[in-house]
């Protein structure tokens, strides 16, 4: 009898893990759908959304400008030395602009915002959870998802594409700084290639990505904070720290995974 139980143990564990994953995915999906739905339920929470746009969007502009500029500058260098081997350095503008608009802009913006705002959201909601503030909302018949999460989702859907646009523009300018000013490509050719190389569908594709990343990042960060109390690996302050860590790690990884999936569809 014992040996049967022994044999069953790994199977049982595997089953429990699988059920756990499915349950977690289900809970996350419901969380996301409810959060999205409550953006549109009346009365609209305009003031709260604007507040969050300021926090997620406006306050990230400097970071985005800095990372955008240096990414563009590096692309300018790398692109120049690759292209010069084929004698086609004139295409630098198109190379820099396309890699930024289609790929690096949305991805790096998302990852930078995870670090700046996502971790803060997870920690804020996590602390509200462990100090019973979320329970207090529930007892007041105020839906915590609507009150705390929906404005953040709405603000992310607005902020992410705008930040991505800033990142792209600053990055293209960074490419110009290294490509033209340092390495001597004719600036007219650089910008002409940018203009001719980038098509509307590239820009649309980039924006679609950034909107999806916005949704993924904000829902994962809020979800981790919201269910801090259900963590089995740590309670209280430790729970919040673990929730914040896993919010950052999970959303960064998922941004890259989703990026691959979206790219393969958009190509």
């Amino acid at each position: 009898m014992n040996s049967v139980a022994e044999l069953q143990r790994p199977v049982a564990r595997l089953g429990a893990a699988a059920i756990g994953i499915v349950q977690e995915l289900g809970a996350y999906t419901l969380f996301t759908l409810k959060g999205l739905w409550h953006i549109f339920t009346f009365p609209l929470q305009i003031a709260k959304i604007l507040n969050q746009v300021y926090f997620i969007g406006m306050k990230s502009v400097l970071v985005i400008c800095l990372t955008g500029a240096f990414t563009g500058m590096v692309l300018g260098f790398q692109g120049y030395y690759s292209l010069v081997k084929f004698g086609s350095e004139g295409f630098l503008g198109a190379a820099v602009a396309l890699s930024l608009v289609r790929e690096l802009g949305p991805v790096l913006t998302a990852i930078m915002v995870v670090g700046r705002a996502g971790s803060a959201m997870a920690a804020e909601i996590g602390i509200m959870r462990i100090s019973e503030q979320i329970d207090a909302l529930e007892t007041m018949d105020i839906d915590p998802l609507r009150f705390l999460v929906s404005p953040k989702i709405a603000a992310s859907l607005i902020s992410f594409p705008l930040l991505t646009a800033v990142f792209d523009v600053v990055g293209i300018f960074g490419g110009y700084l290294t490509g033209s000013i340092l390495l001597g490509i004719n600036p007219h050719i650089y910008y002409a290639r940018v203009e001719s190389g980038v098509l509307l569908e590239d820009v649309t594709g980039g924006f679609i990505k950034s909107v999806v990343f916005g949704l993924v990042v904000v829902t994962i960060c809020c979800y981790q904070g919201y269910y801090t109390h259900k963590r089995v690996d740590g309670f209280g302050a430790k729970g919040v720290s673990l929730a914040t860590t896993s919010a950052v790690v999970k959303s960064c990884v998922l941004v890259l995974v989703v990026d691959y999936v979206l790219t393969s569809f958009l190509m």
Binding site: Q133, D135, A136, T139
Partner: protein, 403 residues
């Protein structure tokens, strides 16, 4: 038989291997203050959380107005929740909002009241709870007692029908503690609201409760009136109550009601043996509700405290005073006949000066009305009989004003 508003039938709740409730059954009646007492960690807070639906029972049933909570649909649940307010043990204030925003939140989110009206209601509650000049402060900078009172204001601002208080007075000083009790009792009388209080303040909380439930090892050990629980013979209950009781009433420094009653039986025994007459005087602070309403509950309790201290100065060494209720003081005068008790009362009306009771200038505009009733005890009298005579016989009542 009254219909209970909330009824637990055989409710069990476990957290992993920790079985907090093991078949608890108890009732909350409408318009009454029900107090849950028991050791720390015995599941009192869990019961409150079960009532409001933050937790669901593993087994057993919770009925609200005769209907099971588990069977309610979304709309009914919403309507149910709107009748409630919950005051958390740790206050659970929103630390990113100001005190004003915290108290106003339930009104802002749940009602369509104009801003000016919300402001008026919030300020009104803050005034009642002596929360002055902290509107724009962050909860993080407040003291523990202040946080409790902000949480209390937030719980009461919606004028709820049922309020669940999770240790509303833990960590407060005696005056504020009594002020909170007086506020709960006042609300209950004025609005007939139902409340469930989790408390360790024994016997203070008995003065304001109509129904007491004691929980031990996951079950309800006792359910009944405050008088019943104090007279019950069960050793566990008695040792718990005695253990929680302080030697003297924290606010007034007088002895407790139970000690007063014990002294009464000793005097009755003496009366039987030596035929030594003794009398009782019951002092009732008539306009305490008025002082509470005008000056706040804290001022009311301060007056009561100063009055008790002043009173003791005018008594003989052998006389004893005990607190008999929220606004009642019982005096026991040994070797005193009815006539002598009469003299004591009339002496008190002349001797107690306002400066003793209300040294603070803010109370200058108010008079304090105290009713003193006296009666001599006879052999085989119960304390209730003597007190009834003291309170009702027209020729034995003094009413005096201290202005």
């Amino acid at each position: 038989m009254k219909q209970p508003l909330i009824e637990f039938t055989n409710v069990s709740k476990s957290f992993g291997a920790n079985h907090v409730l093991r078949g608890a059954s108890f009732r909350v009646f409408p318009g009454e203050v029900t107090t849950l007492i028991g050791k720390s960690g015995s599941g009192k807070s869990v019961m409150l959380r079960l009532i409001i639906g933050l937790l669901a029972p593993d087994s057993g049933e919770i009925l609200f107005d005769g209907r099971p909570l588990a069977g309610m649909n979304k709309q009914e649940r919403k309507a149910f929740k709107r009748k409630f307010s919950y005051m958390f043990q740790g206050a659970a204030l929103f630390d990113s909002m100001t005190v004003f925003e915290n108290i106003a939140l339930p009104l802002m989110e749940r009602t369509t009241l104009p801003k000016a009206e919300i402001q008026r209601r919030v300020r009104d509650k803050m005034r009642q709870l002596d929360l002055h000049q902290i509107e724009d402060k962050n909860p993080a900078v407040l003291s523990g007692g202040m946080k409790k009172r902000v949480a209390l204001a937030r719980a009461l601002v919606t004028d709820p029908e049922i309020v669940l208080f999770d240790e509303p007075t833990t960590g407060l000083d005696p005056i504020r503690k009594n002020a909170v009790h007086s506020l709960i009792s006042d609300y209950q009388k004025r609005y007939r609201f139902t409340s469930v209080v989790v408390s360790h303040e024994i016997p203070d909380v008995f003065y304001i409760s109509q129904h007491i439930a004691m929980i031990d090892q996951g079950r309800i050990l006792f359910e009944g009136s405050p008088e019943e629980i104090q007279n019950v013979s069960d050793v566990n209950i008695q040792s718990f109550i005695r253990g929680m009781e302080s030697r003297r009433d924290e606010l007034t420094g007088l002895s407790h009601r139970r000690q007063g009653e014990r002294r009464f039986s000793q005097e009755i025994a003496r009366l039987k043996r030596h035929n030594s007459a003794f009398s009782l005087v019951l002092l009732v602070f008539e306009n305490l509700p008025e002082i509470n309403a005008k000056m706040g509950h804290e001022a009311g309790q301060t007056v009561l405290k100063e009055f008790a201290i002043g009173l003791q100065k005018h008594l003989r060494v052998t006389d004893t005073c005990s607190r008999y209720g929220m606004d009642k003081i019982l005096m026991l005068l040994p070797d005193t006949t009815r006539e002598q008790a009469h003299m004591v009362c009339s002496k008190l009306t002349h001797e107690i000066r306002r400066t003793e009771i209300a040294p603070s200038k803010s109370l200058e505009s108010l008079c304090f009305v105290v009713k003193a009733g006296f009666a001599e005890a006879m052999q085989d009298n119960r304390i209730e009989d003597v007190l009834e005579r003291a309170e009702t016989a027209p020729d034995t009542i003094f009413e005096f004003r201290i202005c």
